[in-house]
Every structure is written in C-alpha cells, then in structure tokens.
Amino acid sequence: MQETISFTPQLAASPIAEILWLIPAVPMVASGVIALLKQPKRRTAAALAIGSLSFSLLLALLAFVHVAGAWALGGGIRETVNFTWIQVGSSHVELGWVLDPLAAVMLVMVAFVGLLIFIYSTGYMEHDENYTRFFCFLSLFAGAMLGVVISNSLLLLFMCWELVGLTSYLLIGFWYQKPAAAAAAKKAFMTTRVGDVFFLLGIVWFFAQTGTLLFYNGGAGSLEPAALAALLAQHAALGLTAAGAIGLLIFAGAAGKSGQFPLHVWLPDAMEGPTPVSALIHAATMVAAGVYLIARVYPLMQAGALTGGTTTALTVVTWVGAFTAVFAALIAVAQNDIKRILAYSTVSQLGYMMAGLGMGGVAVGMFHLITHAFFKALLFLGAGSVIHGCHEEQDVRRMGGLRSDMPLTFVTYAIGMLALCGFPLLFSGFWSKDGILEAAQHWSVAKAPFYMLVFGALLTAFYMTRQVGYVFFGYWRGHKTAHESPAVMTVPLAILAFFAMALGVIGTPAWPWFRAFLDGRALTFHMDGFAEPGLIALMGGSTAVVLLGLGLGWWLYGGQAPKPEQPDVLEKAVPVPWGWLHNRLYVDELYGVTVIAFYEWWARVADWLDRRVWGGAVAGVAWLFRGWAQLNRFLDTNWVDGGFDKGCEELATGGGLLSRVQSGRVQTYLRLLALAVVALVAILIWSSRA
C-alpha cells in the first residue's frame, strides 16, 4: 500500500492548463465538420480526423512536458480550471478540467494510440463506402475519451463517459446491415447501461453528500480531505461508510465499461465492429476508461484506509478483478475467432488492472493500463492485418503458416504476443504484470488473488501461443491465398511494436519512473530496487510460469494445428470442460434464462393484465355507457326530436333569409361598412355636441 500522495495545489493555472479543453474540443469539432461532409469526400474526412487528433496529440505532449518538467523540479503538480455551469438558486453545478500526472500520461497514451489507429484505419477501411461516417464517429470518440481523461468534474466525466458509450455503440454497429453487429451494438449499450445506472446513483449520492462534483477545487473539491472526512463520518447500510458505498457504485459503472465479471458479456460480442474500432475502443482506450475512473477517484476508494490497510471498496475491486482475470483467460483458451480470443484476453487483462488498482494503488494499475494499451492495440491491429490479408476470414482454424506470407505482421504480432504473455525483461508486459503480482504478493487481506493472477498469467501465455500457432505456424488452411497488408497498416504496427517493447523501461523496479511520476515523488536510480525481499524470486517464478505456458501451447499447437473439420487438440483430450469453455461458460445463456426470461415473463404478465383485467374493466364501462346511450336514443327519437326538428326548420329558413345578405359581393360589404362609418361619426359628433 502506498502512502498518501502530496500534490502542491496550483492556484493560478498555467497557460497550457488553460487551453487544455482544446484537446477534446478539436476532435469533436472535426467530427462535427466531417458529419457535414458529403459521402465521397473521403480524403478530406480522413485528413480532418487525423489532423485534429495530431493537434490534440501535440497539445497533450506539451501538457505532459509541462507536468513532467514541474515534477522534475520537485513534487507533482495538479492544476485545475473550474467554471460554474448551471446556477440554480444557491447551489450551482461546476465543471472543469484537471492537469496532473495521471491525466497527462493518459492523454498522451490515448492521443498517440488513437492517432496510430486512425492512420491504420485509412488503410483498413479503404473499401468501405461509409468511410466518412466512420471517421466522424472515430474522432467523436477520440474527443469524448480525451474529455473523460481531462475532466475534473464527475458530471463532465459522466457526460463524456456516455458519449464514449454512444460512439462505441455506433461503431460496433457500424456495419448495421449485419444483424450480428446490430445485436452486438445493442447488447453493448444495454450492458454498459446497467453499470452506468449504478454509476449515476453514485454520482447523485456523491453530490448530495459533498455538494460539489469537482474532484479538486483548492480544498473544496469532493476528493479532497475535507469532503472525504465528511463522507467517512456517516454510515450507509451493512457497515459501509458512505465513501465505501459510493465507491462501490462508481466501481459498478467502471465494471460495466471495463467488462468486469458480471458485465463482461458485451465486450467479446463487440468484436463485430471493424477491427480498428476493436483495437481503439475495446482494447486500448475505452475499456480502460473504467480503470482510469477508479484511478481518478482513488482517494475516494482509499478513503479511511489506515496506512497499509485497505478498504471494502478496494477489496471488492480486487476480488472482482482477480476473478475476471482468471475467468476470461479460461474462456479465451477455447475460442476460435481470432478477435474473440483477443477480446477475452482484454477482459482478463482489465481484470489484472483492477486487481492492480485494488492491491497496488494507482501507479501499478495505470502502468499495466498503459503498457496493455500499446501491446493490445498492436495485437488487434495485427489481427486486423491478418483478417485483411485473409480476405475477412476470422476463424483461426482457417488460417495458418502466415509467417511466410505476411512477415511484418508476424514479427510485430509476435512481439505483441510476448508482451502480453509477459515474456521476461525485454517486454513491457512483463514489468507491468510483475508490478501487479508483487503488489498481490504483499497484499494484507488474502493470498488467493496472487495465486489466481499467477494462474491467469499461465493461461494467458498458453492461449496466446495457441493462437499464434494456429495463425502463423503450420500450413495454410484457408481458401484464397493471403497477402501482406499495405504500409499504411504495417507502419503503425511497427511503431506500436517498438513501444510494446520499450515501454517497460519506465517501470522497472530499478528505475520506477512511472510510479514516481504518478505519485509525484522524487526519482532515484538504484540497482538495489531488485534487492527487495522476494522480488527476484517472484520475477523468476513468473518467468517460469510464462515459459511453462508458452511451452505447453507450443507442444499442443506448434506446427501441426488441426484442420478446421477436426476437433481441437484439447477438445480431443478433455471434451466436457472444453465444451463449457467453448460456450463461454454459458454466461450469456445464464442471463438468457434468468434476466431476459424474467423480463419476458414479466412482459407476458403485463400483457395479460392489459388484455384481461384493465381491458375487461374498460369494456365493462363501455357496455354501461352503451346501455345508457340506447336509453337516451329511445327518449330522443320519441320525445325530444320532434321539438328540435321544428326549431331546426325555423333556423334553416331564417339562415336562408340571412344568407341573402351574404351576396359574396365585395362592394355590398363595403357599402354596409361605409354606412356604419356614417352612423358612427354622426353619433360621435352628436354626443360631442351635447
């Protein structure tokens, strides 16, 4: 457990912080402009999207440099720019943005990965006729995501959060003519809604308690000691403090976005969208938003934790994360769709991040988030390149031997895969995962998460090897021959690959630049960072685990991957559990028979009520009135009508006489008018006389 961080609050925000809002604003504006473009203006659209995002990247880098510089001079800084949005009587809703190491790192990551993926998309979506629409959505997403990152107010964050959800929905359903895609989009939207409802509850409660939604506001913010103390003071149900309860609610929202265990079902299906989308949204950035949210409200989650202790909220986060990690990894083992495998691995890696947050604090989780963003984006883009090269083929069993056909893709993909497995020393994944494992090892509450995570690591290595074996080794099992992708797709791969390897440097125990930067502590290079008790042992252990996984995978799938028709190797070995895993442990089916079935039943009940009960009542009333009407009719026809008819005849004749006046001649009317005038004037004069 880390000690509480001390940031020097900045009173006067620096110019770069003042214009921070431009970072999300520019892509959003760009998307608005693109939305107005005509269909065939493809180049313009792409240019706008990429240009705007590179502008944002530039600003982000400036901001990052600014923060880093300030940090290097000693102590992290946190600059906020707040303004009142709505003023209702005495209470007023404030919005604002914050610039601190966390935001800075995340900004650079999102903008950079996003930019690469934009460039990649220009190649990948080349043949799509809705090119402009695609880039419109993409840059809207980028803007919203950047907004999430910089927002200093829970409300603003939530707005951008929802925008992100919306764009995710739009992009998953981008090929809405495919029913599967449409269904997936709906599913994603609904599932995340479930989380967001809790999130919203949390927000409202938070606001009710602290009276402000600003995170940091020079001491008056909701994440600052004063407010937190107030929150701790009063207790919600089941021995939770208000802080804890709110934390849990917010975590529910985060779980929805980051696909943590009960709400993970949408993420694999989201792979129906275009691959760049999967890479950008459902691997690198958006799903990380949940993790980022937890990191952002960490003070809240952590509130009330004695030094070295933990809180209920964090415990829950940890358990959910750890469980998700293992659970998703298990499912990933038995998938055949190249993107689904990656999707489940994403879920499990998110689990790692959550666990890291829960046990190791912001730095640990965020470090894994950043590294993961790079190598997972790399993997997805690689998968996209593979799919592209195999003519939209996604089933790994119909690929194989691609290492000769698409060498560049193979190399980069291998790098990404090793990084994901956490191959020792050279790859960023190793360091970040190690950080988590280390934190887990020292966790005070329980040891179980540690073992779960280790097992998860093993599985990760295994299924990735399986996938690579299927895709790149063995012999070609598809129909049409594969081809390498264009440079516009492979160059981003190369760049990402470089970062997937290099990024580890900033997180080694010897030189924990990242942690130091986030915590705003001074940084010292000391080799004895490795000398911490058990660290070497841990590293060795994880290395062994990884190697074991790789070896196992290679032994089963290396070289001789089975034909599509043949059952999988494992399937032959252990058919029953394989079946479970292959069907994703029946979670969807479970929801099907519980939640959805319940809704259907409830709908039927309501329907029955409408038909029988209310319908019956209405019908009864109707009958009553009918009877009454019959009676009236009888009375009318026999007594009333006679009188009426006579009167009506009189009226008709009178009307006929009157209608003579309505000759339809203008001049007649004019004449009457003039006469009236004469009369009036005469009266006036007469009266004035007297």
């Binding site: 009157l658 209608s659 003579r660 006046v661 309505q662 000759s663 339809g664 001649r665 203008v666 001049q667 004019l670 004449r671 003039a674």
Partner: protein, 103 residues
Amino acid sequence: MTPLAGYLLVAALLFAIGLAGALTRRNAILVLISIELMLNAANLNLIAFWRYGPHPEALTGMMFAIFSIAVAAAEAAVGLGLVISIYRHAHTTDIDLMNRMKG
C-alpha cells in the same frame, strides 16, 4: 374658412370620390385605384394636421403619413397580385362576377 379646414374638406371630398369609385366601379383594379385615393386623402389629412397642429416639431403626423405611404405601397402590390391571380383563374376582373363566397 381656415386653411386647415380647407385641406380637410379637400381630403374628405377626395375620400368620398374614392369611396364612390370603390362602391360603383366593376373593374377590380379600379376598385383598388379608388382605395388608393382614399388612402391618399387620409395622408393629406395627416400632413395638414401636422402642419397646422399645435406641435409640428413632434413630427407625428409626418411620420404617420410616411409610414402609411409605405404601407399603401405594400397594399397596392399585394392587391394587384391578387387581382392578377384571380384573373388567371376566372379570366375576368369584374367583381360583380366574383361572388364565389356567396352564402
């Protein structure tokens, strides 16, 4: 007879002439012409009152006249437009025959 009264009488006479025209002519355009005459008579009144009124510096009557000139122009445009479109439909401008609104 004071000059004001003189102008007022002229205006009244012009108004009456216009009214007579509007009441007796059969050609819709001429009815419009007559209405224009009536409007102008009113303008003459306004100007005369402005000139001989107690507060000429307030320019009220003048303004009134100018505005009514502008409005009259608009009225003429729309009225003639209506006449023309009616002529297109009924091929006549004789308002004795335009009694489709007959009750």
